[in-house]
Amino acid sequence: MKRFDAIVIGGGHAGAEAARVLSRAGQSVAMVTMAADAIGRMSCNPAIGGLAKGHLVREIDALGGLMAEATDAAGIQFKVLNRSKGPAVQGPRAQCDRDLYATAVQKTLAAEPLLEVVEGIAAALLFDRKKVTGVRMADGTELSARVVIVTTGTFLRGLMHSGEQKSVGGRWGEASSESLSDSLRALGLRLGRLKTGTPPRVLKESADFSRMEPQPGDAVPRPFSILTDSITLPQLSCWVTYTSSEAHELIRKNLHRAPMYSGQIDSVGPRYCPSIEDKVVRFAEKERHLVFVEPEGIDHPWLYLNGISTSLPPDVQEGVVRSMPGLENAVIARWGYAVEYDFVNPEQLDATLKVRDVGGLYLAGQINGTSGYEEAAGQGLIAGINALEFLRGGDPLILGRDEAYLGVLIDDLVTLGTEEPYRMFTSRAEHRLLLGVDSVYERLSPRAASRGLLDDERRRRTESRVARTAAARAKLGGLEFLPDRETTSFFESELGLPLTAPTTLGKLLQRPGFEWDAFAAAARRAGVAPEALEATIALSEEELEGVLSGLRYAGYVEKQAREAEKLRADESLRIPVGFAFQRPGISRELVEKLEAVRPASLGQASRIRGMTPAGISILRMHLRRSQSGTIRASAPAAAPEILG
């Protein structure tokens, strides 16, 4: 039997992060995967980031994960969505060359000497009572470890559908793990089925781009990782085309052959990423739907048709594709399909992503009911860090909802569970203005650095970024303008702005029509505020935007910070493991909910669906009492009369 410190089952986005963070920190890791060359493969769209997802990638970068670097190494079109808005809701996104992306992930993992890739199918988990001890492979060999992280994506009893055709597998051309679910079920875990889909791919040479609208990326690509100075790959365009009412008619006529409508699939798919048949049914009044035509790589012969994920039979898919401008003669390289897979309801995990009541077993990624590469990678990283801390006896890493989207993601999963594939949205964060895409290195890097998770270069770069933005913030935030003759005339003649009362840069930025660039240029000419201008020179465009937005909306940010602070008292009231929720005054219904989630803090308990103020106040009372009990119990033995 081969021994490791940790075993990671799966080599997708979650598995890669988990395996890497563990092996870098000195743990020996086995990554069990069906095919070593599939590690880091993008199963669906060739893109990373986007709205809210871009935040997750940045947070992963700040914590020392690999997704941002891999994206920079493979990105062939970068675009910041919501660019005109603030950093709280901006969504950096990159089209990637899917082969280069997988290569980048594989290279990063290959650089870890303590990481061993084990090809094969994980058939069962091994336990000693309620502790995981290893994994048995399908060929009967056994691997042992104190920690197992399961990141199986869509491969747990994966079943693919294309029209009436069904085949076993988690991804086109690949197998499925049929028995691992039984190991999870044997632990008493509740499993469910979810569904997701992918669109057809067409040969690039068969498309007529002259009949589509080009969609270029940003003129200057903005890298994801703090380690990347600039993007060196050639940048490509995407295109836009549309479905038509004829195509919709064709879909309607063939709905009985679509597995989602024929009853062949009854699991739940993602509402925000509907299949084309779903869109046609649910939005019957829409005459056309937008389809993004995306390159799969620099030299890759295929195009990805973003917007028409489908499990309709091939003849219908072909009709739909060929109805779109520019794709009249398209040759389909691979049919779209839907895949159903097992997931574990994440209420059964604690906030470290460990299965409650089972030692050493962590779950991350789609197995927890999420969708998306970024959600998976983020969980993989957090599960990996917590498994690492478990192995070395350190404190778990649990991020607050006001600290990171990763905190919101995991808290939502373990507190609310999920019934459909969970995707991150910025609106899921109640204190969104605190979670800017620009502030990840302030918020998160120190926490990773203190655990030794950042290498020297990343640490140096994050610290220097935090220092220079803080310096610029202080200088710009301290700028005051008094309505003396000189200043007034500067504002009037250079900027056409009246100045009647003392003001600050923050206030000026709130004025409609005030542009920083125009102000800075004029100020430089006139020799106004030289020190503040000097402090901005060291900043990148993104850093400067973040600092200015922070000044402009300082009042809002401070208000959300105060609100978050108020809620923190309940977060710090911890609920001990094994706490009995059955108390007089807490209804049986509430006890069931509390037992199902087993919240770790009063704050988490208050977020459980259907929780009542009475339940919370009774819980609070007991927790306060047991807290003061602990203090007394640890008092010196010399004063036994105060014990009890």
């Binding site: 969505l81 809701v89 108390r583 919370i616």
Partner: protein
């Protein structure tokens, strides 16, 4: 509290004093067990059972007990109501016996607090219970019942859901910016914020009437000495409340009496006649009269028709255009044309005056029957907070702030509205409200 979490509380629900019946309520996990022990029998749920309550000291009373089992009770906990014979001694015996068995005396408003905490009623409804119990007129009772029935809560919820709908569209614009859909335009956003804002404003504006109806109003009777103020007070309340003499300056201090006009309790305030005086006591009375005028919702200004309006009278009326001008002693001389006149001697004009007052009160102070209204400062301040945040959202969206900033204001406004009907995180507010109630509600 006892070590078991929620404890069992007891309190008389009717005032202590001799009466035909007295009601005692017991709430909490051991309520049923305690009464069943004293009764020596089990109680069927929601059935009036005749029981003889007996403890170690002998029989307490021959009583009727009704049990309500959680969650199907007012509080949401196990609850027993016991009807005793109305002797304070019997009530106290039962309570003492229950305390000996481990129950605790309820704090002020604790039964209602438990109902709110268990989600049986919301805060606005809990406050309506307080208003209902305190009501003195039928109209007050109707308003409290409307609010208790959830009319105010429903209106607040409707406004909040309009706000959430707007927020949802704004959030969609942020979270689905890459979709080919316009969720809401800037102009629509500003307009919709304005619409929600004006709904809040109109609910805020019910406060004048809501407070007046729930708490009543004050009518101050002013005028020069011997204008007939005390006579009028006595006529309006139908008693010889004030001392009436022909000597100017008889009334020194303020005299108050409450009657019902237009469904509202109206406190009439008789005052010292307004004049310059060297008498230190009368002088204080005059000062008090002027102060009272400033605090009253309505002012009746009396002028002796036989003496005619003086310069001071005209000055006062010019400064207080809302004061109701009344000429008295019209048996001696007619009121000037177009002016309201009355005569105490001939008993003329009193009913007309009451009608005039009633229509004024209904127009300006009474909550129309069947309407919801904000009745206290806490509710008003929740609305004001939401209103302020919406103004901030409106300003932010018209001065070009980006959507996530506007959304932050809208989200905070929705939270503020939640405070109207109750919010888990506001324990301090809860405590303040419940301490206003008396025991046993």
């Amino acid at each position: 509290m006892s070590g078991s979490g929620l404890d069992t509380i007891v309190a008389p629900a009717t005032p202590l004093g001799r009466s035909a019946l007295a009601l005692v309520r017991i709430d909490g996990p051991r309520a049923l067990e305690m009464i069943e022990q004293l009764a020596g029998t089990t109680l069927a749920e929601r059935v009036a059972s005749r029981v003889t309550l007996t403890d170690d000291d002998g029989p307490i009373d021959d009583a009727i007990a009704i049990s309500y089992v959680a969650p199907r009770s007012f509080t949401g906990n196990d609850l027993v109501e016991v009807s005793l014979h109305g002797s304070p001694a019997i009530v106290q015996r039962l309570i003492a016996s229950l305390l000996a068995r481990g129950a605790r005396s309820a704090e002020a408003g604790e039964f209602t607090e438990r109902a709110v905490m268990n989600g049986k009623i919301d805060l606005a409804q809990a406050e309506a219970i307080g208003d209902l119990i305190a009501s003195r007129t039928a109209l007050q009772g109707k308003l409290a019942l409307a609010n208790l029935g959830g009319m105010l809560s429903r209106e607040a919820e409707e406004i909040r859901s309009a706000l959430l709908d707007l927020l949802m569209r704004l959030e969609s614009a942020l979270d689905f910016a890459d979709e080919d859909i316009t969720f809401i335009s800037r102009e629509d956003l500003v307009r919709e914020i304005g619409r929600v804002s004006s709904r809040i404003e109109s609910l805020e504006s019910t406060f004048t009437r809501g407070r007046a109806t729930a708490a009543g109003i004050t009518l101050v009777i002013l005028g020069r000495p011997n204008a007939g103020k005390s006579t009028l007070l006595n006529m309006l309340c139908g008693t010889e409340r004030a001392i009436v003499t022909p000597i100017p300056g008889t009334t020194r201090d303020l005299l108050r009496e409450t009657i019902e006009i237009g469904g509202l309790p109206v406190t009439l305030v008789d005052t010292a006649g307004l004049r310059e005086t060297d008498d230190p006591v009368e002088s204080i009375g005059v000062t008090r009269a002027r102060d009272a005028a400033g605090k009253g919702e309505l002012v009746l200004y009396l002028i002796d028709a036989s003496a005619g309006a003086t310069r001071e009278d005209l000055e006062f009326l010019a400064a207080e255009p809302d004061a109701i001008e009344v000429y008295t002693k019209t048996d001696l001389r007619e009121a000037p044309p177009g002016k309201f006149g009355m005569s105490a001697v001939r008993r003329e004009g009193v009913n007309e005056l009451l009608e005039l007052l009633e229509s004024r009160i209904i127009d300006a102070f009474a909550v129309p029957e069947g309407s919801a209204a904000v009745t206290n400062e806490r509710q008003l301040s929740a609305l004001r907070a939401a209103h302020l945040l919406l103004s901030s959202a409106s300003e932010a969206s018209s001065t070009g702030s980006t959507e996530e900033i506007v959304a932050a204001d809208l989200r905070a406004a929705a939270e503020a509205l939640k405070a109207l009907t109750g919010d888990i995180s506001r324990q301090d507010v809860l405590l303040a409200i419940f301490s206003k109630f008396c025991i046993g509600k």
